[in-house]
Amino acid sequence: MMNYLLSLTIWTPIVFGLITLVVFPKNDCMARYVSLLGSVIALIFSVVMFHYFDPHQAAMQFEEVAPWIPSFNINYHLGVDGISMPFVLLNNFITVLVILAGFKVIKHKVALYNAMFLMMTGFISGSFCALDAILFYVFFEAMLIPMYLIIGVWGSTNRVYAAVKFFLYTLVGSLLMLVGLIYLFFKSNGSFEILSYYNLPLAIGPQILLFIAFFLSFAVKVPMWPLHTWLPDAHPEAPTGGSMVLAAITLKIGGYGFLRFILPIVPDASRHLAGLMVVLSLIAIVYIGLVALVQKDMKKLVAYSSISHMGFVTLGCFLFANGTLNVWAVEGAITQMISHGFVSAAMFFCIGVMYDRVHSRNISDYGGVVNKMPVFAAFFMLFAMANSGLPGTSGFVGEFMVILGAVQTSFIAAFFAGFTLILGAGYTLWMYKRVVFGNVTNSHVAEMDDVSSREFIILAILAIAVIVMGVYPNLFVAKMHTSVEVLIKQVAYSKL
């Protein structure tokens, strides 16, 4: 089994999704439980992978290679290192919660809903594990189909606009990346192995063009300012589960792409353009943080806060000092992604819990929720604190590491990045205050009842994850350390 662990992790949810879709199209109850079973099995596989992962080994682990399309030398090549492994785990973890979150709430086309989430999990795991560029691309693009349907079918009023915008934005970048990959294929004398591109000499001109192609693809996913505009449209319109997956996992593929493709394949271009990237990241952190302050819609607010937090990821990836990346910053970026996975999923779930009761996302429609839902308010408080980066929660670790790295390379960058601690606290806690505290303002809130046991379980699991990650981040950081060192050596070496 160990030899096929990654394949099992990828294909279990996809197969279960197909079973759900084909066998139980009408039987909602069975569809729910079968998909839950599928996601739990996939989670177990990824936990096994996490457990047996050797943190001291720099090479790819659990590798699988099989020829796929020999005429283009495309292989079914899977493998994980310390950078990709945590994401696979995160992905399967969140999916279990997402399936649970949709249990009572989703009432029409249940089988399709669950099947789409399961298939998407499989595709996402596939993109994290793929070591063949075309295999990566296929998984990366295939993700669009379920996400398009999830936003479009189960979203709220403006869902169609959001779904189409999401689809086209993501497709723009990835198609250019495809051209870049084919170019690399011919440059490397016929190889689509991602790892073989790492040592491929490239002149600075092509490097810059490849950088742009990859950048457009991944920066849209992250999303970086100014390519972020699809996210605030997609999030409010997506169902709770969709938002959770979108924020917690799909954004991370963008960050992962920076680490797996851009930095090691075009290191010189990355060094050249690092200044620009840092500026874009700081704009995301500060400007988008300010934008988040004025949002009236809770989901939009969290969506903007996601963009702002992801600014730390891109900032951490491009903090060069004397042509070398900063270890703290890179590890901080990865930690920030994982932490944001937990926190944003939790935030969107909390909003979903309230939305299911009141059917409004407007902050002004709430007030005094704590009087009716004390347990929920406690959990929400924890996640709000994590979102604003309180020490002891996971939100603090990543941001702190990145700022630490930034201080070592550029004080100005660190100074502006530090704004997030104020802004994050500002928009999150102010929203929390308006929604939760005070007197009960209207009849809708008065009718709210506290969390059900299903919701309690989800909140508790996420709370544990947030605290564990905040108190003992070494659980993940130790696993990624060797791979990050290798990456930094790789990037330090010039390809010219």
Binding site: S71, V138, G152, R159, V164, L171, L176, L178, V179, I182
Partner: protein, 477 residues
């Protein structure tokens, strides 16, 4: 007097014979299902005979005018297979619409016979004869719906433009005939040009322009695409299925024979023309398709853009590029077949499922058809893991391998624009509520199974394309 070797043309002879039989049977029998059965039997018979006459070597007959090589055998087999599926998809529609089943299938078989002649022609005039046989049969098929103004109009448009294009082609051929010193045989034209050396006769170039114009008219590249949307929209869905999927393969083989087989020494010249036309087609096909509300018309413009991709494969002038082209056109035919097939199956009781409005809420009323249609649309948009992605990928790879990176980026951006109108169809099917009652399509078991196989093939070939690619490569070699 010596008789020509009839062995390589046995399938075509069998088909001609069966057409006569079908016409006779139709005249004397009341049951229309007999005719359908006979048509299917004819196609199966032709398929089997085609396998039988394939010796693995190239055979020529009729004074080298007729050639049966790997390319011909392979594409003929695919065409028979496609036609078989077409007949299954449209048979109920024909009865429902009271299109004369007997005549329809007789003319339909004539069209296929025309394609077979085109595929196997080794002489410019025979090519022309095949083309005319196909075209005239298609004019007839469209006009068969006598009471429909739209159908009559589009048949008329198609006829006038088609006749003009044929005239242009013939005019071009006459120049080549003169420039090469009186040759119509493709291999002799090639030899005459080789003797001429590097200098290409201006007269021949002049002819080439006309020939290319005539050829791309059949593919529907911009600016010779005007007939496509009107014909797609005006003709009944059954005929749309034939034109939209079947005729493309024959047209591509036709171009391979003509341009690669006969005029390969002028490749520099015609590839530039095709590149230009392909870029225009990608641009206009995709942009104009956005504005369409009629699915048939939209598919028409989408065909234009797809044929732009096909033409880009020719531009590369490599075995790799030609393989990609053939792969593209074969897989596109199957994709379009499934798309038109679904529309045909949804049209019932005089209702024609043709506008985007008609597809509204299809996922509610027909979840399975909606799912299939979604796969077809994503395949056309080129989203992996469906086959449309791999087809586009191959063309892009062939383009980049010869350094046409700019063209590749352009093609990519255009297919991005194309993705918009494909996903809009999905939007109508999945995101919108049905506005009116769509008649329940009660396709029989065979049809449904075939449709499922057809759509699943798009997925399976998309994931495991190797065997089909190797087959296409074998055909091109």
């Amino acid at each position: 007097m010596t008789y020509p070797n009839l062995f390589p043309v046995l399938p075509e002879l069998f088909m001609a014979f069966m057409i006569v039989v079908i016409l006779l049977v139709d005249a004397f029998s009341i049951k229309k299902s007999i005719v359908t059965g006979l048509t299917l039997l004819t196609l199966v018979g032709c398929f089997v005979l085609q396998l039988h006459v394939d010796t693995g070597t190239t055979q020529v007959t009729f004074n080298n005018m007729f050639i049966l090589d790997n390319l011909a055998t392979g594409t003929k087999l695919v065409t028979y297979l496609l036609s078989f599926v077409v007949v299954i998809y449209i048979r109920r529609y024909l009865v429902d619409k009271k299109l004369h089943v007997g005549e329809f299938f007789a003319i339909f078989l004539f069209a296929i016979l025309g394609m077979m002649v085109m595929i196997s022609a080794y002489n410019m005039l025979v090519l022309y004869v095949g083309l005319e046989l196909l075209s005239l049969a298609l004019y007839g098929l469209i006009a068969l719906q006598r009471d429909s103004v739209k159908a009559t109009e589009s048949a008329m448009k198609f006829f006038i433009l088609g006749a003009l294009a044929s005239g242009i082609l013939l005019y071009g051929i006459s120049f080549i005939y003169g420039a090469t010193g009186g040759h119509l045989q493709l291999d002799q034209v090639l030899r005459a040009m080789t003797i001429d050396g590097n200098n290409i006769n201006p007269l021949l170039l002049f002819g080439l322009v006309f020939v290319v114009a005539g050829l791309v008219f059949k593919l529907g590249l911009v600016p010779f695409h005007m007939w496509i949307p009107d014909v797609y929209e005006g003709s009944p869905l059954a005929v749309g299925t034939v034109i939209g999927s079947l005729t493309k393969i024959a047209a591509v083989v036709f171009i391979i024979r003509f341009l690669i087989g006969g005029l390969v020494l002028a490749a520099q010249e015609w590839s530039m023309m095709l590149l230009f036309l392909a870029i225009l087609s990608l641009f206009f096909g995709n942009i104009i398709a956005i504005a369409q509300t009629n699915v048939k018309r939209m598919l028409g413009y989408s065909t234009v853009s797809h044929m732009g991709f096909v033409a880009l494969g020719f531009v590369t002038l490599s075995i790799e590029g030609l393989t990609s082209t053939l792969f593209y056109v074969v897989t596109y035919s199957f994709t379009a077949l499934a798309g038109f097939g679904i529309l045909t199956l949804l049209s019932k009781d005089g209702f024609e499922c043709e506008t985007l409005e008609d597809l509204k809420g299809l996922s509610k009323s027909h979840p399975v058809y909606a799912f299939f249609m979604m796969l077809v649309m994503f395949s056309m948009a080129g989203i992996p893991p469906l086959v449309g992605f791999y087809a586009k990928f191959k063309i892009l790879a062939a383009l980049i391998s010869i350094g046409y990176i700019g063209v590749a980026i352009f093609a990519v951006i255009m297919s991005l624009i194309g993705a918009f109108y494909y996903i809009r169809v999905v939007k109508f099917m999945y995101f919108d509520e049905p506005t009116k009652e769509v008649a329940v399509a009660d396709a029989c078991f065979v049809t449904r199974t075939l449709l499922a196989v057809n759509v699943l093939a798009l997925l399976v070939i998309g994931i495991l394309p190797t065997s089909v690619v190797i087959y296409c490569q074998h055909l091109v070699n």
